[in-house]
Symmetry: C2
Subunit: 471 residues, 2 copies
Amino acid sequence: MQRAAALVRRGCGPRTPSSWGRSQSSAAAEASAVLKVRPERSRRERILTLESMNPQVKAVEYAVRGPIVLKAGEIELELQRGIKKPFTEVIRANIGDAQAMGQQPITFLRQVMALCTYPNLLDSPSFPEDAKKRARRILQACGGNSLGSYSASQGVNCIREDVAAYITRRDGGVPADPDNIYLTTGASDGISTILKILVSGGGKSRTGVMIPIPQYPLYSAVISELDAIQVNYYLDEENCWALNVNELRRAVQEAKDHCDPKVLCIINPGNPTGQVQSRKCIEDVIHFAWEEKLFLLADEVYQDNVYSPDCRFHSFKKVLYEMGPEYSSNVELASFHSTSKGYMGECGYRGGYMEVINLHPEIKGQLVKLLSVRLCPPVSGQAAMDIVVNPPVAGEESFEQFSRAHQMAPDMFYCMKLLEETGICVVPGSGFGQREGTYHFRMTILPPVEKLKTVLQKVKDFHINFLEKYA
Amino acid sequence: MQRAAALVRRGCGPRTPSSWGRSQSSAAAEASAVLKVRPERSRRERILTLESMNPQVKAVEYAVRGPIVLKAGEIELELQRGIKKPFTEVIRANIGDAQAMGQQPITFLRQVMALCTYPNLLDSPSFPEDAKKRARRILQACGGNSLGSYSASQGVNCIREDVAAYITRRDGGVPADPDNIYLTTGASDGISTILKILVSGGGKSRTGVMIPIPQYPLYSAVISELDAIQVNYYLDEENCWALNVNELRRAVQEAKDHCDPKVLCIINPGNPTGQVQSRKCIEDVIHFAWEEKLFLLADEVYQDNVYSPDCRFHSFKKVLYEMGPEYSSNVELASFHSTSKGYMGECGYRGGYMEVINLHPEIKGQLVKLLSVRLCPPVSGQAAMDIVVNPPVAGEESFEQFSRAHQMAPDMFYCMKLLEETGICVVPGSGFGQREGTYHFRMTILPPVEKLKTVLQKVKDFHINFLEKYA
């Protein structure tokens, strides 16, 4: 009892309420009387110190915003004050914050958000109808038609419906249920919430959580906060940071000596490594989780940030369903997405969602209860999430501008996707000139007839899928 | 190891990756082969169940959004479907959500938020200059001048400055330091964060957290999540739910048998009880915390919701400072405010702040680190907090409309405050008629000369203070 010892040392016994004055001067006089053995004002030992604080919190490390970043802030202030350095500005490449780096927000998203914020603007002719339509849909689902009301703890109903529809489109028709969607305060919130529910046991049966190394430090931080056991598996740097299931096996076997490995965290596309898992690799991981009875966490916040034409994002949810009912009915999966990454980069709104698969109904109740304690995620972030999953579509007023915001004209976008998904290389109509508002592509018909048949079938399949996804 | 037992029982040994198919049909065929002993699709025992989950989370109770509220949602759906009930609508009086109850948002706040959201509107003549000024100030302090960037984990600098200036005005000049202000995701986030840092120890030295009964259930929920020890002190129902320091003494003495009481939570004005602590009572509590070496948490989110003319809100911070340096240099205090209550009622934005006093510098570092893990509070909520603490002032274009939003004309507001703070009853000029845009009050000069001198001195002091606070 260090605190009690401090009290005794200075001889400050309990005082009755009558002995301390109401006015500042009398209280000050008394304080100096009490402390007369020391001429200078003395400070008692504090209650909350590095020694007395929560040791799990003390053990947390968070490099993304650690000492380097604090130092960067100091250097920026020094530069502002005119202190000379071998450089004139600090480039903050420590965090994925597109708008801080000068990326302009997507006009459509901000229009919808402004309309939701200040509904008087719904009468303004300077906002497009499709933006107004989105804003009305969101506001109608809010208490008192206002972003200022609390939402349901799980999130606004219609936004969860839009998220489910987005996932279904993204995954080529694998159904998503709005009841399995939980809107969150960024993806971090969802990840830490589900981990909080998962961790239990003591000693050798304490929950082990498998994470990639390198990892995004949210994972190690939350594991530390929860006093869970961190189980490292190493990504293969020699092989473009690929995930190797043999390494998962090694890690889980070793971990079983000192904990109960219960959770497997996957970051795909990787953060900080950027690798994109092949479909085969995802199947391997799902089978491994099934085999080892591990709860899967799939952090997929970078799903729209795949740059190599050789790579394609496959969601764990989709692959799980395609592996058949033994997997899709049994493997427990939570996957995460966010407004912060992709082409939107709306980090500040702290929007995100979690989709859960095969979660026990009683646990769903526990999850809602736990989320309820914090009332609800920011409703403005929920609205931002809605626009990320429900962007303008062809035929809507904002579609063209929005598509340009993808930094690609619609025909360029179509041809790029066709190439990426089928390997068929054609030329966008804009290279040849076309009437404004119409889009074409040009393809040669030189391949032999049999090959051409295959090519045309592929184009047809791609086209149907493309319309399903973007139209 | 229940999960391992489940595996053995069904005879599903590990399978090699080569044994499971890529296509949905082959995987389905295989699954039915594996499960042929049972004609219906079978489910393995789940990893995450009520038995296996985090027992601290299971123990959480959260009545504000518990079964009654879930039932309310069901009844609303039934009413929508036309099912007859002895009532036609559900009145949600379970939660303090003003806008869901039809209260209109404050125009000025939403104008600033819309301008921040969609800065093109800064060129629109339909927004007032003072709103544009606030929006520019906020945007200039945001990364990339955008609400879509992450902010510093502690919150946007200029907003913390505005909060500190607000606290200084509110507390009649007691200084507040922006470095002691942490912007949060609603007050709940601040409360649970500081509690998370405070809880430590095992067995009989586990941290005890004193909370009022009745309490707001966030406290019991977070205490349960953290596996801390809840120490109840009872408010005195016979005495308008007043807090009695003798009851605090009883509670802390009894608690010392089984835990280390280290934190005292106060809710003032009370939630759910609505009582407002007298200045004397606050002094008593601060002295008690000093004496017992308790870290004080002052939940002051209802500071603008004081309705009785006999009551006045005093902040713990102000009283602490007025009690002199022995208290103001030693008592560790965290106090909380929010955008959700008061006249703003902007619950959905999840804005809030925490002010810490006498926090050890090393602990401040720990606090920033812990906040960093979640990156930052929603920037739109931070902006809303800025407008709550930085409303239009006399002379600004929006001041009159904003004052009406207080549902009181400026002269009515002045006279009401004068009465509340000095007991002097005068009549607003509007009762007599006055030129538009000017404000007066009428007072009689019937009291004897000596009394009149005192009265005029009081009016003078009040007026200076009023201008300091609102001008």
